[in-house]
């Protein structure tokens, strides 16, 4: 059964390599996008931390900034 599934009448190499390439591409794209997201978010938090109290208060008024700082978003 397992051998049959792997071999697929001699087409196994083609079928499995096509599916593996697809899933590997998905994993790579997901990882790269996630790294970019985390990098930008950390940059934002670091920059926000450097603001003085008044500027931080102004920045806090924006919904997106509140959302980024709350950390409720998760990917």
């Amino acid at each position: 059964m397992i051998n049959e599934l792997l071999n697929m009448n001699g087409y196994g190499l083609y079928v499995w390599s096509a599916f593996s390439f697809t899933l590997l591409s998905f994993a790579t794209l997901y990882s790269v996008t996630k790294v970019q997201y985390i990098r930008e978010k950390n940059k934002f938090i670091a920059k926000y931390g450097e603001l003085d109290a008044q500027k931080a208060k102004i920045a806090r008024t924006q919904t997106i900034n509140q959302e980024i700082l709350s950390g409720s978003q998760s990917i």
């Binding site: 079928v15 096509a18 599916f19 591409s25 940059k43 924006q62 978003q73």
Partner: protein, 235 residues
């Protein structure tokens, strides 16, 4: 007009949605893989190599759909003077390119046992390769141009030229004598594909669509945070 497309409102949804989309994607792709690799029948002519269709065809469909959406969004951005449309278009492009590459590579793998060659300068394959070049040009333009107005103009021009290629891809199998078979699935008439093969194809298409949605949401959130980083600099 288009108040719903305001980043402040969208971010409340897009920031929370990825985890749900991810869960749904894992569920759908798991069912799709079982259907495509185990449950679906082999083809009487192509035997098990037909299973490559379940990754090749959805990838090609979605890459075409994403490029068409990017063009529509870029043009809408100009018509309605809404820069958020450009941001949405930019966030869609990476998954479009990856799906295009998947379609080319899996097509090449499928070509070897079916046609006896990894590559042929066939009308469908060549026009898909041209689409990949347009995706690359679009993404490179966003990277190299600093001037905001210039980049919006150049990326829109790239999509306008690129969209001409979409009907060529679609009808290449009818217009030229190619190695590719004509379309087996037709919305307007009865499909030439059996339901036992159509079901896994549709499930895999849904899974791929969910994955592109997931990447879009993550990329869009990243772009919004990038904008907010610039906003903090200006405070």
């Amino acid at each position: 007009m288009f108040k719903i497309f305001e980043p402040n409102k969208i971010f409340l949804i897009t920031s929370k949605a990825p985890k749900y989309v991810m869960a749904l994607f894992i569920a759908v792709i798991s069912i799709g893989l079982i259907e495509a690799l185990i449950l679906s029948p082999e083809d009487y002519k192509q035997s098990h190599s037909v299973r490559i269709m379940y990754v090749h065809v959805p990838a090609a469909w979605i890459s075409l759909g994403i490029f068409s959406s990017i063009t529509l969004l870029s043009l809408s951005g100009y018509i309605f003077k809404n820069k958020n449309f450009f941001l949405i278009a930019k966030s869609l492009a990476p998954s479009g390119l990856v799906f295009n590459i998947i379609a080319l590579v899996t097509g090449s793998i499928w070509g070897k046992p079916t046609w006896g060659t990894w590559w042929a300068w066939d009308a469908r394959i060549t026009s898909m390769l041209i689409l990949a070049i347009f995706y690359l040009l679009y993404l490179i333009a966003w990277r190299i141009y600093e001037d905001k107005e210039k980049v919006l103009k150049i990326t829109t021009l790239i999509t306008i030229f690129g969209i001409i290629n979409i009907p060529i891809i679609k009808y290449s199998v009818d217009w030229w004598n190619t190695l590719h078979q004509p379309a087996s699935i037709n919305i307007m008439s009865k499909s030439a594909i059996h339901s036992s093969m159509l079901l896994p194809l549709m499930i895999m298409t849904a899974a791929f669509a969910l994955f592109s949605l997931l990447i879009f949401l993550m990329k869009y959130n990243t772009e919004l945070i990038k904008l907010k980083n610039k906003g903090l600099d200006r405070l």
